[in-house]
């Protein structure tokens, strides 16, 4: 466990140095400017627009960070050959892999925290109430980012960084439309139910994590739904990480 945490801490330091902070600064500026701009342009909709922009930016920037840093976590160590001395130490491949995931997960947690603070600051600056309900949309966004990292790490163990990034983006976009697969039999009744079900469950359903509109409009997000979504994320992250780890363990580094 100590070794995993050591890898995680190191990964966190490494990722923070990877210009993630620049992204955050950019995000904060964008948010503030957007907030101040819409205040002038919109008619009594400024609070809604700030929330929309804030949550969407959080998801978009977070996903970009998760994809592009996630795919480089393992592959960069291989390309730079810094992996070999690490594995020569008493450090298992599993510990290395899990440590890398936890490191980036912590980075994303901090990232999301800063973005959340930026959103609340902008709301406060424009005189809008600080709606605690926003956290019910932000928490699932964080879960979805963890799933993106796991998917990115999985692909980075089986292919090059560039291709892994493309595949991860493909899975994330496809996962936003998982409902179309689920309801396929409504327009294609001859499709075997087991095929539809298998396809549906094979794609990580990123729509599960989207509560932005509900929260912005003040609609309830029940606690039990958040629990199920958390369970889904934990299980799917576990599945993808285990798959990635098994591939990583089998890889022959020459």
């Amino acid at each position: 466990m100590t070794r995993i945490l050591a890898v995680a801490a190191n990964t966190f330091r490494e990722t923070v140095r990877e210009r993630v902070l620049y992204n955050l600064v950019f995000f904060a500026i964008l948010m503030t400017l957007a907030g101040l701009l819409v205040r002038q342009l919109s008619i009594r909709q400024d609070e809604k627009i700030i929330k929309d922009i804030g949550l969407a930016s959080m998801e978009l920037f977070g996903t970009l960070i998760a994809v592009f840093i996630g795919v480089g976590l393992v592959s960069k160590e291989i390309e730079r050959r810094s992996l070999f001395p690490l594995l020569a130490k008493p450090l298992g491949r599993g510990e290395f892999f899990l440590g890398k995931f936890l490191g980036l997960a912590f980075t994303l947690l901090v990232n999301t925290g800063v973005m959340t603070a930026g959103l609340y600051l902008t709301l406060g600056a424009t005189g809008a109430p600080l709606d605690a309900g926003l956290l019910r949309a932000i928490y699932p966004i964080l879960l979805s980012l963890l799933l993106v990292v796991a998917v990115a790490m999985f692909f980075s163990t089986v292919t090059s960084s560039a291709l892994a990034a493309v595949c991860t983006v493909g899975v994330v976009v496809g996962g936003r439309y998982a409902d179309v697969i689920r309801n396929m039999r409504e327009v294609l009744p001859s499709a075997p139910p087991w095929v539809v079900s298998a396809l549906y469950n094979a794609v990580p359903n990123f729509r599960n994590f989207d509560f932005k509109d509900r929260v912005v409009y003040g609609d309830p997000v029940p606690g039990d739904v958040l629990l199920w979504v958390t369970l889904y994320a934990v299980l799917y992250v576990g599945l993808v990480l285990l798959g990635g780890l098994l591939v990583f363990r089998q890889r022959d580094f020459q």
Partner: protein
């Protein structure tokens, strides 16, 4: 390099358990939030133009996705999905056609299900006509859309004059069907005329591809047949009363006499409803061919 061991049994078992767990958790989420939550979420969107600005360069693809979701929710090959929220239909259609204004089927589909009476449709024929008007503006060269606009004015708004004028306009469009002119002339002054309605639905049935629009047209033709049958039975009941000196006590009594020829069930196989007080025969409320607005008074047998 050392040789790696094959997939350990515990890892394989964990993988299987995780796959099952993911499917189970997803099923729970779907049960809690509904399978059609993507469709429900259109109510949060401002307008089709708003969505259009979000997907620059991918409007056609986004339109296809919204169209697919619309059909999945309101019925595609399957006939008339029930328990649907029809307030979602207009936004879904508006978003779809804002993204791809040339998607002709979306206007026709939206118009049919906005205009149809509940539970099949939203029962808002004015909105159905508006959707078709938007379609004819976006696709001025489509004689079929203009023809549908004329049909809908006649069938749902009972406005024969406007219907006739629009059908004449449709007939002017290059490639239009030859019979549009004669139909336009025939329906003038025949608002609600069943034979004209039958001609229109027959055309829509012939023009539609296999699927819900064709099925709907077929049901409409059955409804017209059912109304004709009900009228014949009502006339037979009147004849019975004249001959027997009293009103028939039930449809069975009417059927037993030679006056009522033909079945006493509608084309859907549901027995007609007979009002012993007025002697009027009508389509039963239990029939899938029943539509609001023609129900007999309570107490019919």
């Amino acid at each position: 390099m050392r040789k790696r061991s094959p997939l350990p049994l515990t890892a394989a078992a964990t993988l299987v358990a995780l796959v099952a767990g993911v499917a189970w958790a997803q099923a729970r989420i779907d049960a809690r939030l509904g399978s059609f939550r993507a469709q429900d979420e259109v109510l949060y969107l401002w307008s089709g133009e708003h969505v259009r600005r979000l997907v620059p360069g991918f409007e056609a693809l986004a339109a296809d996705l919204y169209w697919l979701r619309t059909v999945q929710y309101f019925g595609g090959q399957r006939l008339f999905s029930r328990n649907k929220r029809f307030e979602l239909l207009r936004p879904l259609i508006e978003i779809t056609v804002a993204l791809d204004p040339r998607l002709e089927i979306a206007y026709r589909y939206g118009a049919v299900f906005l205009s149809e009476s509940p539970p099949v449709g939203a029962g808002r024929p004015r909105e159905g006509v508006t959707v078709l008007e938007e379609g004819t503006k976006a696709l001025p060269g489509s004689w079929r859309l203009r023809q549908d606009l004329g049909f809908f004015h006649f069938l749902y708004l009972r406005d024969a004059e406007t219907a006739s004028r629009i059908l004449m306009e449709a007939a002017e469009i290059p490639g239009a069907a030859f019979w549009l002119r004669s139909l336009a002339a025939d329906i003038l002054g025949k608002s609600g005329d069943r034979e004209s309605a039958r001609r229109m639905w027959r055309q829509m049935h012939e023009q539609a591809e296999e699927g819900i629009l064709k099925a709907n047209a077929a049901v409409q033709l059955q409804i017209l047949d059912a109304l004709d049958q009900a009228d014949r039975l009502t006339a037979a009941a009147a004849a019975f009363e004249r001959h027997a000196g009293h009103r028939a006590g039930s449809l069975a009594e009417l059927r037993a006499s030679v006056l009522a020829r033909g079945p006493v069930v509608d084309p859907a196989g549901v027995p007609f409803q007979y009002d012993v007080v007025t002697g009027r025969v009508s389509v039963s409320r239990a029939s899938p061919l029943w539509r609001p607005g023609w129900g007999p008074p309570e107490g019919g047998r």
